[in-house]
Symmetry: C2
Amino acid sequence: MSDIRLELSATDGAARTGILRTPRGDIRTPAFMPVGTAATVKAMLPQSVRETGADILLGNTYHLMLRPGAERIARLGGLHTFMDWQRPILTDSGGFQVMSLAGLRKITEEGVRFQSHIDGHAEFLSPERAMEIQRLLGSDIQMVLDECPALPAEKAAIEASLSLSMRWARRSKDAFGEQPGRACFGIVQGGTFADLRQRSAAALRQIGFDGYAVGGLAVGEPQSAMFETLEATVPHLPADRPRYLMGVGKPDDIVGAVERGIDMFDCVLPTRSGRNAQAFTWDGPLNLKNARHAEDGSPLDPACRCPACRQFSRAYLHHTVKSGEIIAAMLLTWHNLAFYQDLMASLRGAIAVGELVVFAAGFRARYGRQKPDHPADFPE
Amino acid sequence: MSDIRLELSATDGAARTGILRTPRGDIRTPAFMPVGTAATVKAMLPQSVRETGADILLGNTYHLMLRPGAERIARLGGLHTFMDWQRPILTDSGGFQVMSLAGLRKITEEGVRFQSHIDGHAEFLSPERAMEIQRLLGSDIQMVLDECPALPAEKAAIEASLSLSMRWARRSKDAFGEQPGRACFGIVQGGTFADLRQRSAAALRQIGFDGYAVGGLAVGEPQSAMFETLEATVPHLPADRPRYLMGVGKPDDIVGAVERGIDMFDCVLPTRSGRNAQAFTWDGPLNLKNARHAEDGSPLDPACRCPACRQFSRAYLHHTVKSGEIIAAMLLTWHNLAFYQDLMASLRGAIAVGELVVFAAGFRARYGRQKPDHPADFPE
């Protein structure tokens, strides 16, 4: 019996909604996890992240192991205390970031040798070390170390990588051991090959995990390929375990993935965009650098409850963006996280009443409609 | 009868405490005004500034006239609505910033021609335009345009500058005219020359202002010279009007100026320092970059009620400073503003009970004690 428990309350097609119960708090699913890379969701205080509706954060093993270090965080009482977030935290294994260090890392059966991007010193990450770091951080949901190959790739390369990832998944699970109240998730790999995804899912089920992630997507392939891969993968995952699509994504990616049975998401998009003047709305993304906002006294979104929308005009957001003021990053990050959580709440509600198809169609019709503020469209 | 009214509740030596009543809210004096240069107190939401105890903000005419422009702010409902601060705002005249544009500005009897630091376009500021901008912004307390000569300077130069400033003061007051609910403050100049300061004070009293500022100090002279100048100036200001020491200062500057009868202060030090890893405490300034904080699980100040102190350790502040995270600027700015407001509350309390001398002595004994974290002391 897992220490975290998914209680489904409704399904609608392949989609489902419910609550993932953990000792540190309930997580309403489908859930979006804001990314708190270096023990902070950038430009936000933790209570503000909570106010947007977030039930769980993601922390990055790679960044935290390098600075301030997992052992140091453990001595300081663990990641929850360190960053003052007492609700659940999921940590990745560090694999994705390390694999991205092309030329600076070497993968062997044992693990990955790499150089710190901060000071260049030599580091080593193995399945055992990745799990040890996550244990030291005090993570509630710990991810196995896997290899995440860049797409497109030859099937043989994907297959070899998958085999390594499945051996590492076994070692990760063994290293996780028994941690009361904490969970360990496996990660399905296999690129966009349905047979490899299914082989991966079977191998992970054989090991037995508290939840199952789908990794290696949203790395450059078209959205249709991502959705097809989900359709080929999700039916092979246990229905009573949470399913997590890693690193996804844009609002329309999330809607499509929820329709295909995904329960959990994480992505830097709302926070990174907020620091780059981009705001998500039901009409699509807006770019507040655009001069057309300079005299617009109306709110970003009159229905949104975040401070950016309740207290300020588009003109103010434009002014602070143009002036390089920190408050622009603070307000737009807050708004974007609120928008993402509002989207998740809408998806949960639509599933609850059995109208997800209708909601998703309405979302796509409206969200794609407005494209005047593409990030590249800076008339000033 | 002025539209703002100083109600003194206690005096202690030259110091006094009370409430400056304005239609937009009461200002407890002695008061510290956080600086909201470009329509934002940097790295803070307005409700957070209020939570620190601030009753009034300062806005900068120079920055706002250049971006987003006074007429634009007026069209958007005024500065209070634009930046969502419904309490009093004092605006400077823009003079100090313009005078600092050495080589880029030309002073005549009429006013100052200068080039925008943002895009280099030609601008003009006269007493009439400075007051018009402040009226458009909707400022509650408007400052006359004056010339602020750099110290040290020849007495003849200071005297000539003072004469110009007094002519501009008259034109500023005439341009201010009648604005129900709003106040106009004169600015005493005269360098560190007691006779010039007294001549300036007499000239301003002759014109008649709602409050009297002391300008041209804290521009490089020793603290003792500033204090001596205050001692020579304050007795020549009307006792029933607020006295404002512009651009000051360090905590010990403020304590000494309150002892000498000053009621209002503004300074970028707490906010700028907060963005540069420096925190003010009763033991003096700390620099959070310092490696000795890396494993320190204790709070910055266990008695402080701000989020930086209540929710996080010195180790966390150190980590986020070293990582260049925005939350470090947010937390340290909040702390510094809270410290400044706590200092003002302590000064008001000490005056109320007639023990300012004792408080000030205790402050100086403790504040000067610790010097290990000088800003230049970065052992890492």
